[in-house]
């Protein structure tokens, strides 16, 4: 069986984190999201994998190259829609295939459930269905599917994972998969609805924290770096090669820390935290429920919770993030959110900067001693 993974889309609603990579390449628990999709396929013995790339395609290709599994790469030059992306792979598809988005998490169990069913969609209930293709079912078969409706008829949504056949291309007219599925249903083809066990999508950047929490659940404890004998490390904690944990640092798992990091002394790392490689966390800082990407430095006395910090950031001493709710305008739509800070790549903030429910773009420089509340700071700004 073949599988087609769509990883061409930027993921505009996850900006600023998608400036240097498509959404599928955002690291969660220190691996790009697409890696988990590939895992789920390989666990089911599906190795004939085609990945459709587009936005920042070299980033995806380079990552796929590092895997020992040979993966075919197909380019979608313009990102016109999911069906258009799939069509780029049409000539390589021989018969039955699975279609999966590269930027969602799916467990191997669910893939096992759907892979042997002909013409099927994997569905799951979601509290805000109108962000997805909403599905109604009758007798286990799809009755209707509507993409992002204003008023959702049910809480059941399509996960974007389908088991299809080459015949499917006969129904593809527009650029959307859901439209083609609708066509198929109207033409009288039975499409089974299979319920997913565990599926998660990150629509907004703060959703990445939920995904992170989920992916850290089964983290095995690995200790490869050097930890001070005066550090207290509990639970499932992964410490990468070359990382040093200073004295009196407390780490409670699940926590993953990459390679060559310097943590502490006297730091506190709380559960559900992913820290990339070559990250420095200076003394007396506290990190919890956060994603900190590669090469970032968090100076002393900082408090980073419920936050995503991009690559190469330098946050000066006493930086703090405070969790708060607020309404932010994402891609033109006012959206309710609750988090500390979402910080893009290469952001520099001065001492005593305080973030509350705030999205900071890439390459932003922020002077110290400031409060930033419920705001989106655009890429490249200088905040004085």
């Amino acid at each position: 069986m073949q599988a087609v993974i769509l990883a061409a889309g930027e993921g505009k609603r996850v900006r600023p984190l998608t400036w240097s990579r498509p959404k599928a390449m955002i690291p969660v628990a220190n691996r790009p999201i697409i890696a988990y999709t590939i895992d789920a396929l390989v666990k089911n013995g599906i190795r004939d994998i085609i990945v459709v790339v587009g936005y920042r395609k070299e980033q995806v290709t380079r990552f796929l190259n590092q895997l020992d599994l040979p993966i075919e790469v197909v380019v979608q030059e313009k990102q016109l829609g999911t069906a258009h992306a799939l069509r780029q792979a049409e000539s390589r598809i021989k018969g039955d295939f699975l279609l999966l988005p590269g930027d969602n998490y799916i467990d191997a169990q669910s893939v096992a459930k759907i892979k042997d069913v002909k013409n099927a969609v994997l569905v799951k209930e979601h509290p805000s269905p109108s962000n997805f293709g909403v599905v109604t079912i009758r007798d286990g078969l799809v009755d209707s599917i509507v993409e992002k409706p204003d008023h959702a008829p049910s809480f059941l949504v399509s996960t974007g994972i389908y088991s299809l056949n080459k015949d499917f291309f006969r129904y593809v007219r527009g650029n959307d998969i859901t439209d083609a599925i609708s066509c198929m249903v109207e033409a009288g083809t039975d499409i089974s609805a299979v319920t997913a066990d565990d599926w998660q999508d990150a629509i907004y950047p703060w959703d990445l924290l939920k995904l992170n929490l989920r992916l850290l659940k089964h983290l095995p404890a690995v200790r490869e770096g050097t930890s001070s004998s005066h550090a207290a490390i509990h639970g499932a904690v992964h410490i990468g090669k070359g990382t040093t944990i200073g004295p009196n640092t407390v780490i409670s798992g699940p926590v993953i820390i990459g390679n060559d990091c310097t943590i502490g002394p006297n730091c506190c790392i709380l559960p559900d935290t992913s820290i990339g490689s070559r990250v420095t966390i200076e003394p007396l800082s506290l990190i919890g429920n956060a994603i900190v990407m590669d090469d970032t430095t968090i100076s002393s006395h900082s408090r980073i919770v419920d936050s995503v910090i991009g690559e190469r950031c330098t946050l000066a001493d006493h930086t703090s993030t405070n969790t708060a709710g607020g309404i932010l305008e994402i891609e033109g739509t006012p959206t309710r959110s609750e988090f500390g800070a979402i910080i893009g790549d290469h952001v520099k903030s001065g001492s005593f900067a305080r973030f509350k429910n705030c999205i900071v773009g890439n390459n932003v420089t922020l002077e110290g001693n400031r409060d930033v509340c419920t705001r989106i700071i655009p890429d490249g700004s200088l905040v004085i």
């Binding site: 400036w19 240097s20 390989v42 013995g45 190795r47 004939d48 990945v51 790339v53 920042r56 070299e58 290709t61 380079r62 796929l64 190259n65 020992d68 599994l69 040979p70 993966i71 075919e72 790469v73 390589r92 021989k94 060559d260 070559r278 590669d294 090469d295 690559e311 190469r312 290469h346």
Partner: protein, 580 residues
């Protein structure tokens, strides 16, 4: 990274294996070897490339294994080359991967009386199998019983006299089986198998396959398992490039990692004393490596005040003595004839010599007192990209060692700045370059050699006549060539050269030539006076050298793509020049 290939069937194995290994050479090519089985096991292994020795191999048999190596631990020589055998030459194996606990296993085996011939980690595996095979002469179960003792990654192929089958095992390293008609293949990837069959089985971690002429049986944890036969229809070329349209682009994207890995691999504490203390340095090199040497000159003289002389290796021998101090020879392949001759010349003058190369165990390491290896991995594209950046990593690490670790922090994060460059959109600059017949590159200070390297890349792959000049030299002659049809690419970074560079650019503009300037982001003046401004991140001068260089590589690549040139194999050029 290494490549392995195995065959069992009715045809003669040796030519098939040689052909297969050649296709796997992109995974490594410093030494290779073959073992076949007739009444007993015959082995031939050599340091060097298959094309050099392959024709001389005369091994008969229709069952055999082969290996092409890219050494990372243990130098490449005939002894360390695979296949490895047990004490009695009854079992032969090839291995791709790393056995992490080989030291302890080796100790136990030596205590039991096994004789080790090589320095490789692989050899413990064959001796372990020998132990079990002596107890029960069933090769498959012997392999199965020893695998749990191995920590690390492996793809193994095993043959033994008295066993007319081939055993394949995999854990963590790639291994694929090709299914022919009464013939079977095993290889690191599909590339070499595709000539013979399209049917493949991808083994999973923990799988052991027993391949006979009549079929393949696969077991995992002692239980037989069924793995699906898949039809593969990619072209071998595509498979190797892993989705990139050209090796050059693949290698450009590997640069951040090549730089970082090389930095990590050069331990400043263990640098030879004469490297850290020599009062003067001479660099000999050719082509891109010469440009790397020139960058080194500017940076070392500036930061440590040590005189550095840089010479073309091909010209070095015509200089009469005196030469003294340290002589550094830089060569990606380690085989560049001119550089080797120059280094020999230096030894005649009693100088200490240091080689910098990407190929462990190449000729340069036998010619010099010490050798530093860059960790760029095999480079296929003729135009050097990642090896150049890795050379700079070695040289910058030497500078850092000689200036008491002043640059350590800067260098450790430098690869991230390169990442940022890889995201840049240069289409407007490409538009300007692709229609030009001549392009001039100018820079000052360390950016002068960057200009040279940039123009070299442009020449090599786009066939546009490109010349690099020290910006001040432009007025002394080449100025006469400027016209609205000759774009000038200027590297104009903040620092002491900035002011003069700006006036040079204005002079060029006054002659009507379009200017593409590489500058620092946030520059207020440049964008107004030049036609194309390419902003680079604000960083340390060392990193600026790297970032501006990578921009010029990508510019050359994109221009060549726009002109539809044969990028990986430019006309008239060879990857390493082994004649004078």
């Amino acid at each position: 990274m290494c490549g392995i290939f195995g065959y069992i069937g009715r045809r003669q194995a040796t030519p098939l294996i040689l052909e297969g290994l050649k296709k796997l050479e992109y995974r490594g090519y410093d030494s290779f070897g073959i073992a076949t089985l007739q009444s007993h096991i015959g082995i031939e292994k050599h340091k060097g490339r298959i094309s050099e020795y392959g024709d001389r191999i005369r091994l008969n048999g229709t069952l055999g294994i082969g290996h092409t190596r890219w050494a990372t631990h243990g130098i490449p020589n005939d002894v360390n080359a695979h296949p490895h055998t047990d004490c009695n030459n009854r079992i032969a194996i090839v291995h791709n991967g790393i056995i992490e606990n080989y030291a302890e296993l080796k100790k136990e085996l030596v205590a039991k009386g096994h004789i080790f011939r090589s320095e490789t980690d692989t050899e413990v595996v064959v001796h372990l199998i020998e132990e079990e095979y002596a107890k029960i002469p069933d090769l498959q179960s012997a392999v199965r019983r020893i695998l749990p003792q191995l920590k690390g990654s492996y793809a193994l192929l095993v043959i033994a006299s008295g066993a007319d089958y081939l055993i394949a095992a995999r854990n963590g390293s790639p291994l694929v089986l090709g299914i022919g008609d009464n013939e079977y293949f095993a290889a690191s990837d599909m590339t070499p198998v595709l000539d013979y069959t399209e049917r493949a089985i991808f083994l999973e971690d923990g799988d052991i396959a027993c391949m006979t002429r009549n079929g393949v049986e696969i077991s995992s944890q002692g239980q037989p398992v069924n793995r699906k036969v898949e039809l593969i229809d990619w072209s071998p070329e595509e498979a190797k490039k892993g989705g990139f349209p050209h090796f050059m682009l693949k290698e450009i994207y590997e640069q951040p990692l090549a730089f970082f890995n090389t930095l990590r691999a050069i331990d400043k504490q263990s640098l030879p004393k004469f490297v850290c203390q020599s009062p003067s340095v001479t660099v000999v090199a050719c082509g891109s490596s010469y440009n790397a040497g020139l960058i080194f000159k500017y940076l070392l003289e500036e930061s440590c005040g040590i005189p550095v002389r840089v010479d073309f290796a091909s010209e070095f021998r015509y200089f009469p003595p005196p030469v003294d101090g340290l002589i550094i020879g830089i060569t990606q392949s380690g085989e560049t004839a001119d550089t080797l001759t120059a280094l020999k010349q230096a030894r005649i003058h009693n100088c200490r010599t240091l080689g910098i190369t990407n190929v462990l165990g190449s000729s340069v390491s036998r010619t010099t007192d010490a050798t530093l290896f860059m960790r760029a991995g095999p480079e296929i594209s003729v135009a050097a990209t990642k090896s150049f950046v890795a050379q700079l990593a070695v040289l910058m690490q030497i500078i850092d060692a000689r200036s008491e670790g002043r640059y350590e922090d800067t260098l450790m994060h430098a690869h991230q700045a390169i990442e940022e460059i890889l995201l840049m959109d240069l289409s407007a600059a490409v538009e300007l370059c692709k229609s030009a017949e001549n392009i001039f590159y100018i820079g000052r200070g360390p950016f002068y050699p960057v200009a040279l390297e940039g123009s070299l890349k442009m020449k090599e792959i786009s066939y546009i006549h490109a010349e690099g000049y020290a910006a001040g030299e432009l007025k002394h002659g080449p100025f006469a060539l400027l016209s609205p049809e000759t774009p000038v690419i200027a590297i104009c970074m903040p620092g002491e050269t900035y002011g003069v560079m700006v006036s040079n650019i204005k002079e060029v503009k006054a002659r009507g030539a379009p200017v593409i300037a590489l500058g620092c982001e946030g520059d207020q003046e440049l964008p107004d006076i030049v036609d194309q401004f390419i902003p680079l991140p604000k960083t340390h001068p060392f990193v600026q050298v790297l970032t501006s260089l990578v921009v010029l590589q990508i510019l050359a690549y994109r221009t060549a793509v726009a002109l539809e040139r044969d990028i990986d194999k430019p006309r008239n050029l060879a990857k390493s020049v082994t004649v004078e």
